[in-house]
Subunit: 210 residues, 2 copies
């Protein structure tokens, strides 16, 4: 997906880099960061996967976003004016580059190699983010659980160039991601199987239409 961005280059540059950047490791279920206004933190996920979750006043948990390798996150991307808490939670062991910036233009006084590369790659990294958000919006605007599921499956199928693919998260999390009730989603999956739209073996899905 990221043609010219290479996280390995990034890391190499990082080694002898500026003091504004830290590399940290997190265990599963640890909180990587929380979105707080003026904290000015910008993160790149080097390995593992993590979720951006919101806990609302009633304690309901919503997966707002799901991050994998190369994804960028931090409160720059967010209008942190809601009352709700936004946390990034590690779903597996994660390595993260955490960068504290003074201003949104990401200019480093020392003009170190890391920052040069960051400045170069940033538009691209952010564009990837916009693309994935747009896709997410497109899924979420679908009206029925069935359409959301099929939309998502199509997407995975297009990405993997195959009618058979593995879901990148648990069915419980998929329901959260598509913003539907889990049992309703399971019911719909069952119907899709019965109506021969899909074949399902655990988290492996095969599309049977067209």
């Amino acid at each position: 997906m990221n043609l010219s961005f290479d996280i390995e280059d990034f890391l190499r540059d990082f080694e002898n880099s500026c003091n504004k950047v830290q590399k940290k490791s997190f265990e599963k279920n640890q909180v990587i960061t929380s979105y707080i206004q003026k904290r000015n933190q910008f993160c790149i996920l080097i390995s593992g996967n993590a979720d951006l979750v919101r806990y609302d006043l009633n304690g309901n948990r919503t997966i707002i976003d799901h991050f994998t390798k190369n994804d960028v996150f931090g409160e720059v991307f967010y209008d942190v004016t809601t009352n709700n808490e936004l946390l990034v939670e590690a779903k597996s062991t994660c390595e993260v580059l955490i960068y504290s910036y003074q201003n949104i233009h990401y200019k480093c006084k020392q003009n170190c190699k890391f920052h040069q590369r960051l400045t170069e790659c940033l538009p691209e990294l952010i564009l990837d983010k916009v693309t994935s958000l747009n896709m997410r919006v497109e899924l979420l605007t679908k009206r029925s659980t069935r359409d959301k599921l099929l939309g998502y499956f199509n997407l995975l199928s297009t990405r993997t160039l195959s009618k058979t693919f593995k879901l990148p998260f648990s069915l419980t999390d998929l329901a959260d991601y598509l913003s539907v009730d889990r049992s309703a989603m399971m019911r719909e999956l069952k119907l899709l199987k019965e109506e021969n739209f899909i074949k399902k073996d655990g988290k492996t899905i095969t599309l049977l239409y067209k």
Copy 2:
């Protein structure tokens, strides 16, 4: 919202600018552009407002995004691999800067003033986009029509720093935007009025809680 980006500066630079940029006007309901892979078009809305809409195979129309002054759009932001048609439709008379780029890094051979400024402002413009998309996702992940409405009203209230504000689009379009059935939304609005959560006079809403 855009502190350092100023569309007027942009336009001034544009006047004696490069041949890759065009300024065009569109009447209400005209199609400004459609998202086609490899078209490599990037647009900035100078005035008016427009919607990004999807027509699916059944002819259902969904408002994927709503653009106002300073908003950027184009298929760069989109993974144009779906079968569905994506169109940007003018909702009022619109002026648009249309920029054809060769590569995603937006470098202009002549290095004209327009491009210099574009390169400077692009991260900021795109970040605004990410912020608004994240907000949209947050609204769409809310499970009930009521929560979507209240979430959206809170947002408008926070933006205008007032408990009273005017909806920026018609109720019909609002339903499309929140991805709910219009009549269900009207019903919910009625209940919110009856339960004294809100006061409503046409498109002017007043929040009565907290």
